[in-house]
């Protein structure tokens, strides 16, 4: 029979997740007998996702692959799903271990943490002040990356992280926060935004303040959204993994678990089609691939893809 796999995202309409949905459809086509249900709340709340999950449980879908708005609050609902025989995995933004069978990290967290500060440092040979513009204060993955970044920041002498502010993944709020940063720290050299919404808004704020070239905006973003800012010089480079691959992998994993072709346990290697295999660690987590850096040399090749 046809397998129905639900791809639940933080909120509908975000370019990153739309791209992931494309990947999921790609995987479905490859697998043949899979129907993808792409869904999610319209604002990034846990309660919204719980309502979505309840509806999915009621439809008796075969698997749920979720990018969580809250790693703890979703646990009871997802547990209920697993109790009713539904395969549950998390991807991108994780759920606490008791609420899912495995978690797919887009990349390894320490690697991302290092990457975002390195991107800033690469263009600051003499060091200087940098600030972080994050998504909401409750976003699981951003917090982990910032934590990882702080662990390694001593490897970059002269780089001085002066503040962390939150733009709540809202373009206008992020824009104002970026403005505030530039006012508070006149010597600011770089803004690190490990969120695709924040990085665009920050770059826009930098161009508007006519500080392109003075303040470098970097972090994690989508090539399609960042192309203009690379061209203007507000951003010299940024990184991202391929969200299409991420959606594709999540679908593959969910499929393999729900058909029983694989089992999620520490050390297991679970196939994910063209992306190879996912190796699980002690808490059933695995990383998909390394982040990839985009700059003026390669952005044109990707900006029309995602």
């Amino acid at each position: 029979a046809e397998k129905r796999i639900a791809l639940v995202v933080k909120a509908l309409g975000i370019g990153f997740f739309e791209a992931a949905a494309k990947g999921a459809e790609e995987a479905a086509k490859e697998l043949g007998d899979v129907e993808i249900i792409y869904t999610g709340p319209t604002d990034t709340t846990a309660e919204g996702q719980i309502e979505v999950i309840n509806a999915l449980i009621a439809q008796k879908v075969d698997a749920i692959a979720i990018s969580a708005n809250d790693q703890d609050a979703l646990v009871p609902a997802l547990k209920k799903a697993m109790d009713r025989g539904i395969t549950v995995i998390s991807w991108d933004s994780g759920v606490a271990p008791e609420g899912r069978q495995l978690h797919l990290n887009p990349s390894s967290n320490p690697l991302i943490g290092n990457m975002i500060i390195k991107l800033a440092a690469d263009h600051l040979p003499d060091g200087g002040d940098v600030a972080v513009l994050s998504a909401s204060a409750t976003a699981t993955n951003q917090n982990i990356w910032i934590e990882e970044m702080n662990k390694v920041k001593d490897n970059y002498p002269g780089i001085n992280v002066v503040a962390t502010v939150y733009g709540d993944d809202l373009a206008d709020k992020s824009y104002r926060e970026a403005q505030g940063l530039m006012q508070t720290y006149p010597d600011l050299k770089a803004i690190i935004a490990p969120t695709s919404v924040g990085i665009v808004a920050a770059a826009q704020a930098v161009s508007d303040a006519e500080k392109a070239g003075q303040v470098n905006v970097t972090g994690l973003g989508l090539p399609s959204e960042m192309a203009g800012h690379i061209a203007s010089g507000a951003s010299k480079s940024f990184a991202i993994w391929n969200p299409i691959d991420l959606g594709y992998s999540a679908t593959m994993l969910a499929y393999n678990l729900s058909t029983g072709a694989a089992e999620a346990k520490p050390g297991a290697e679970i196939p994910m089609g063209r992306m190879g295999k996912l190796t699980l660690n002690d808490s059933n987590e695995g990383a998909m691939a390394d982040p990839f850096v985009y700059d003026s040399s390669n952005i044109d090749d990707f900006k029309d893809i995602f």
Partner: protein
Amino acid sequence: MSLATPDTGAQGRQIPDRLKSPLQRFLVSWELLLLVVAVAVFTLNSFASPYFLDPWNLSDATFNFTEKATIAFAMGLLIISGEIDLSVASIIALSSTAMGFAVQMGADTPVLVLIGLGTGLLCGAFNGFLVTGFGLPSIVVTIGTMSLFRGISYIVLGDKAYTGYPSDFAFFGQGYVWWVISFEFVLFALLAIVFAVILHKTNFGRAVYVVGNNPVGALFSGIRVPRVKFALFLLTGLMSGVAAICLTSRLGATRPSIAFGWELEIVTMVVLGGVNILGGSGSIPGVVIAAFVMGMVTFGFGLLNVPGIVMSIFIGLLLIAVIALPRIAHRVLAKRKA
């Protein structure tokens, strides 16, 4: 002749008690209209999705509205009295934060419940004090406290979350009393009855209507208007505390963004239930039916994987249509007659 036995002589005309029987009134009532809508939604849902008519699914669906309805009952009374509380969702956040904090201190379930309710009461008292003590308009005061209460949660929690609630605490939001009947649903049903009795059968309920219709007249009739309003803010705070307990228990975690945006959904529920937003009229049965309608619409659309925001178009249309249609019908009928 004494005052106790007034002169029943021929001078006075006999005035009948009622012009219309209670049944006649029901037949033109808002509640009946809502009931029709509810039945229609239910029927449509069961045709639209094969999964709808499943006891477990229906039981799951009730979680979509039980917590909000808990607050909507008290909010209904508050709105009838001519006030409003937009801070309810923020009270949930603060109440939940207080409970989470207590968990870290090692509190057990009974203590948590007390703390949840107590925080709700305290917030309600603060709103009530500002409104009745300073004579401020409640819509403005509670826009302020809405930011303040949630702001305090953010100050306490920042980007952290409280978890680790005791396992027996999970009963309030996840437990079942019998078969598919959840604790939350039983609580909802009990509160519906309690609030219906308070509003429709007690002196206090009468005072709520009087205050909503004419606060000055109420004062001149010996009703202690500030006390009534204060009590209603307390009650709304308390019910927000109850909802906080259920929601926290259901989520098993507290973040400052919990229940974000619920205030408008709750007000929508109350208004859909036929409570006059300007105060003075409304009923609890209406709010109960409205809660079912909203819950079933959300769940029905959810089963069809329609995004929440599209549902909200429907709720918005419903809100306007349910109020507009009777008026249009009335007008058309009046024209026909003329």
